[in-house]
Amino acid sequence: MPLVVLLQVKKGKRMSKKHIIVDPITRIEGHLRIEAVIDENNIITDAYASSTMFRGIETILQGRDPRDAGLLSMRICGVCTGTHYQRSIEAVEHAFNVDVPKNARIVRNLIQGALYIHDHVVHFYHLHALDWVDITSALKADPKLAAAEALNWTDTPHGAGEGDLRTIQERVGKFVKQGRLGIFSNAYWGNKHYKLSPEQNLIAVAHYLQALDMQRDMSKMMAIFGGKMPHPQSLVVGGVTCVQDIKNPARIAQFKSLLNKANNFVKNAYLVDVLMAGTVYADEALDGTGAGLKNYMSFGDFRLNDNGFYNSELLFPKGVVLDGDLSKLHPLDQTKITEDVSHAWYEGKDDKGLHPYVGETIPKYTGLEKKADGYSYLKTEEKYSWIKSPLYDDTRMEVGPLARIAVGLAAGDERISKYATEFLAKLGNKLGLGKAAPASVIFSTVGRTAARAIETELMGDVMMEWVDELAANVANGDLSTWTEFDFDTVAKDARGFGMAEAPRGGLGHWVVIKDGKIENYQAVVPSTWNAAPRDYKGRLGAYESSLVGTKVADPEQPLEILRTVHSFDPCIACAVHIVDTKGRELSSFKVNTSCAV
C-alpha cells in the first residue's frame, strides 16, 4: 500500500528521481502542501512549499473603523491567538501616537507570555513530538527501566515515576489492542529514523498525555486577563479592559499559581524531553540537518519599561543575523521589507516587490497541473502558492524562536545568553564533549526545536517578575488601564505599524487610516517569511531551503520532511493574505486555470 504519492521522473538520461507530494501536512495550523524531489540516494534535491487556502482578510479590513481591526485581524489565526490582536492594536496606536499605561503594558506582556508558554508546549507535544517519538515503541518499554531513564535526564522528572509510566503504558496498550487508533492511525510508526529507546518513548508519550491536561491550565492564564482563549477580548486601542482582574489579588494569585504549575512542567518535562531528544538525535544537530537559510531576523518584543513602544528596553532584542555569524548583529530597519510575488498567485513584477505600506496586489491564480497519473502538481517554474515571498534588504530570512535566540546571542543579551548557555552546557555534558556544545548546533532542525524550549523556560521565569510588578503597581494605587485620545483628530490621516514577535516569529501589521477608516491594511506574518515559495531570483524560502540535502530513510514515509517542516511550527492561515488597495472584489475574478479539479 503506497503511503505517499511517488512519481518516477526521468531527468537527464541516468538520473532517476522521485517526486513526493505531502498534502495535507497535518499537525499544523492551516493548509500546506510540500512537494519534494528525491534522488537515487534518497537525498532531497528540491523542495516546494505551497499554501492552498486563501481568505482575503486584509481586503475585508478596508473601510472598517481602525479601533475594531484588532478583533477581526485576530481571526487570521486561532493558534497564535491574541498575537494578531495586539499587533493590530499597536499598529493603530502607533498611527495615533498613543502610548498605553504601565498596567496595560504589563497585562499585554502577560497575555502574550502566556500564549508563548501554551503554544510552545502544545507545539512540541501535540504537533511535533510524534515526528521524534514512536508511540508503538513505548509499548515495549519496561516501566521500571523507564522511570530510571527519566532520572538520567533530571533529578526531578515530571510524572515519570514507575507507577505513572506503568498506568500510561497500560492505557495506551488497551487503546492499541482494541484495534482503532483514531488520530494515531496510519502514521509512520516503525520508521528507522525514530531513534529513541522504548523507555525514552514511553516517557515522552506520558508527557504527551499529561501535556494535554497541562495546556488546559496554561490557557487559563490568558483567560484571566483576556476573558477567553482562543481569541481573547480585553485589548482596546489605548489600553486594556480587564480592570477588575488586575485589581483583584485573588486573580493575580490564581495567575501565579497557574504559572508556577506551568513552569514546573516546562522545566521538568518539556526542556528535559528536548534535551533527551537533542542528545539522541545529536548527529543531526551537529551536521546541521535542516539548517536552511541561516539568515535570522527578530523584530524584538516584550517591553520592559514605559519609554514607548519602539524606544523601550526589550526582552527579545531586535536585529538581523546573516549567514549564521553570531559575532555580528545588523540593525533592523522596517523600510527594507518588501514582498515579492513572482512565485505567488498574485499579479506583480518579477522583482523584490513593494513595501507593505504601498503594496498593491491582485490575485492571479494559475492553478496546479493535473498529470497523467491523476495527481495534481505545483507548477513550480511559475506561481505555486498563496504565500508571498517577503524579503529583508533583498535577502531571504528565517524568523521564529531560533531567530530570537540567535539575535539575542549576537546582541550579547545577558538573559538569553544565560538560558541558551545552560542548555548547551547540559547537551555538551550528555554528549561527553567535555565542554558545552557549540552554539552552531542550534542551526538545525533539532536546534530550532531546542530554541523554542529554551525561550519557554526564560519566558516562564520572567513572567513571574512581571506579575509581581503588576501587583506592586496596583497596590501603589495605579489603576489606570487606558490612555484617552480624540479619535476624530488622530484618525483623520494616519499610518502606523505594529512590529513585534509572535510565538512563531516576527509579525508586522501595517495600517493606513483616512477619515476614521482603514484605507490600507497589511500583515506580514512569521509563516509568510518561513513558508514562502521561491523569490524573483529563484532563491528558496526557509522551509524549502531547510529540506534540501536531507536524507529520507524511506521515501514512502517522508518522516524527515514532517520533522523539519514542523520544527518551524507552521501557521499557514496566517501567512496567506492580500492587500488590494483598489478595493476590487476578488470574488468576481474569472481565472482560467489548467487545473482540472
Binding site: T26, R27, G30, K228, Y365, S588, T593
Partner: protein, 409 residues
C-alpha cells in the same frame, strides 16, 4: 419612565426568547423510552473498540462520584430533568461508538484549539478522549497520502454512522479554488461533499462553518459560505461562536449519542440548549444596566466598578449564546467578565453588524453590505430590533436622568 421600564421588562421576558424546560410527563416519558432504545441499539453495535469510561476514570484517579457530578451538570445543561442523569452516564459510556471525522476548511484552527481546552468539568476532556476521533488535521499523526487513506478507511468502516464535524467556511468563488486539499487538489467544497455524503449528521462548529464568519465578512472576497449553504440533504447542527464553546460541542455530541437525533434547534439550526439564552438576560452586569450604570469610556470609574458595557458597544442584548452561564476555559472568565462588550460572535454576519466597540446607533462604520440599519431589518427578528432600540432609549434616558456612573462611587 416607568412605562418604558415595564415595556422593556416585557420585551426581555418575552416567551419567544425562552426555552421550554417543562414539557410535561408524557413528553419526558416518551423521550426516556426513545433514549433507552437508542442506547441499547448502540450498545449492541459492533464498533466499540476503545477504552471504557471506567478504565479512563481509573487511569485518571477519578471516582464514579466525579463522573456522576459531571453527568448531573451535563443533564442540567441539556435542559433535562434530573431523572435523566443515569441515562446521560450511560450515553457517556457509549460515546466511543460514535465516530467523529473533523474537517478543517477556510478556518483558523480556533475551534480545534478550543476543543483542546474543553471546558469544566475536566471530565469533558476524557469524554473526548473516548469518542472515536478518526480524523482531525490539527492533531492526527499521519500526513499526506497516509492521512487521506485513513480518512477513506474511516468513512468506509463507519458508513452512515459517523458525525462529520466541520470547522471553517467554504469558498465558492473561482470554482472553489481558493481552498484545495490533498494530492488531487480537491476543492474544499468537493472535500466537504465527499465526506458529508455518508455521514449520519453534520456538526458545523464556529461561525465560519455555520454562517461563513470571517472570510464571509464584507466584501466576502472568496464568496465564502457556511456548510448549510453547500449541503442540503443532511441534518446539520450549527454551533456558532468565535470559537464555539467546547461545552456546546460536547453537549451536542452527547445529545446525538442519547437520541440518535439532532437536538432541538432554533431558526438558525442552533441547539436550543446552548443558544436559547440571550447573553443580556443572564449577564452578571445586568443589574447595572437596570440601574442605568454604564461604562462611558474605557478605564473609567464605571469600568472599575464593573458597570454595564452597553455604551461601549456590548451586543449582549442581540446575541444568543450561553457564554454568560458556561463561560470559557473551565469557567475562568468570559469577554464581559474581562471588561469588554460582547461582539455577537454567535450571530450570522456579526462582523458586519455587531463587532464594533460602539452601540449600533453610534457606529461610524457602515457595513459595505448596505449599512447597519438595513442589516438590522434583514436580521428578521423584530423583537431584537425593538429591544436594541429600547435599550438605546434607556441608555440615553439614564444620562438625562443624571444617573452617570460617577455618581455611584
Amino acid at each position: 419612565m416607568t412605562d418604558r421600564r415595564e415595556a422593556l421588562a416585557t420585551m426581555f421576558s418575552a416567551k419567544g426568547s425562552k426555552v421550554n424546560t417543562n414539557r410535561g410527563d408524557v413528553y419526558y416519558d416518551n423521550l426516556m423510552t426513545e433514549m433507552t432504545t437508542r442506547l441499547t441499539e448502540l450498545e449492541n453495535t459492533p464498533v466499540a473498540h476503545k477504552v471504557s469510561i471506567d478504565e479512563v476514570l481509573d487511569a485518571e484517579g477519578l471516582t464514579r462520584r466525579d463522573f456522576m457530578k459531571w453527568a448531573s451538570a451535563a443533564c442540567a445543561m441539556l435542559m433535562l430533568p434530573p431523572v435523566f442523569t443515569p441515562t446521560i452516564m450511560k450515553a457517556a459510556e457509549l460515546m466511543n461508538r460514535v465516530p467523529v471525522i473533523w474537517l478543517e476548511l477556510q478556518d483558523c484552527a480556533g475551534n480545534s484549539e478550543a476543543i483542546l481546552r474543553s471546558d469544566a468539568p475536566t471530565i469533558d476532556e476524557l469524554i473526548l478522549e473516548t469518542i472515536s476521533l478518526e480524523f482531525n488535521e490539527t492533531l492526527m499523526a499521519a500526513a499526506g497520502h497516509a492521512a487521506d487513506e485513513h480518512l477513506e478507511e474511516a468513512m468506509h468502516t463507519f458508513k452512515g454512522k459517523y458525525l462529520c464535524v466541520v470547522e471553517g467556511a467554504i469558498p465558492l468563488a473561482m470554482n472553489g479554488l481558493y481552498g484545495t486539499i490533498g494530492a488531487h487538489a480537491e476543492t474544499f467544497e468537493e472535500h466537504l461533499i465527499r465526506v458529508a455524503k455518508d455521514s449520519a449528521a453534520i456538526v458545523a462548529v464556529g461561525t465560519c462553518a455555520t454562517f461563513g464568519g470571517v472570510p464571509a465578512a464584507a466584501p466576502n472576497p472568496t464568496n465564502a459560505v457556511g456548510v448549510q449553504d453547500v449541503i442540503k440533504n443532511k441534518p446539520i447542527i450549527n454551533i456558532p461562536a468565535c470559537p464555539a464553546n467546547p461545552a456546546n460541542i460536547t453537549g451536542t455530541i452527547l445529545h446525538y449519542v442519547l437520541t440518535g437525533q439532532v437536538p432541538e434547534l432554533d431558526h438558525l439550526n442552533r441547539p436550543k440548549f446552548a443558544f436559547g439564552y440571550r447573553i443580556h438576560d443572564n449577564c452578571e452586569r445586568r443589574a447595572h444596566f437596570d440601574a442605568g450604570e454604564f461604562v462611558e469610556e474605557w478605564g473609567d470609574k464605571g469600568a472599575e466598578h464593573n458597570f454595564c458595557l452597553y455604551k461601549m458597544g456590548c451586543k449582549g442584548p442581540m446575541t444568543f449564546n450561553n457564554c454568560s452561564i458556561v463561560k470559557y476555559n473551565s469557567g475562568t472568565s468570559w469577554p464581559i467578565g474581562a471588561g469588554h462588550g460582547c461582539i455577537g460572535c454567535s450571530e450570522p454576519q456579526f462582523w458586519d453588524k455587531f463587532a464594533q466597540e460602539r452601540p449600533m446607533a453610534d457606529t461610524h462604520f457602515k457595513a459595505p453590505t448596505g449599512g447597519v440599519e438595513k442589516t438590522v431589518d434583514e436580521f428578521g427578528l423584530g423583537l431584537l430590533t425593538a429591544a436594541g432600540i429600547g435599550i438605546g432609549i434607556h441608555a440615553v434616558g439614564s444620562v438625562v436622568a443624571g444617573k452617570k456612573g460617577e455618581e455611584n462611587e
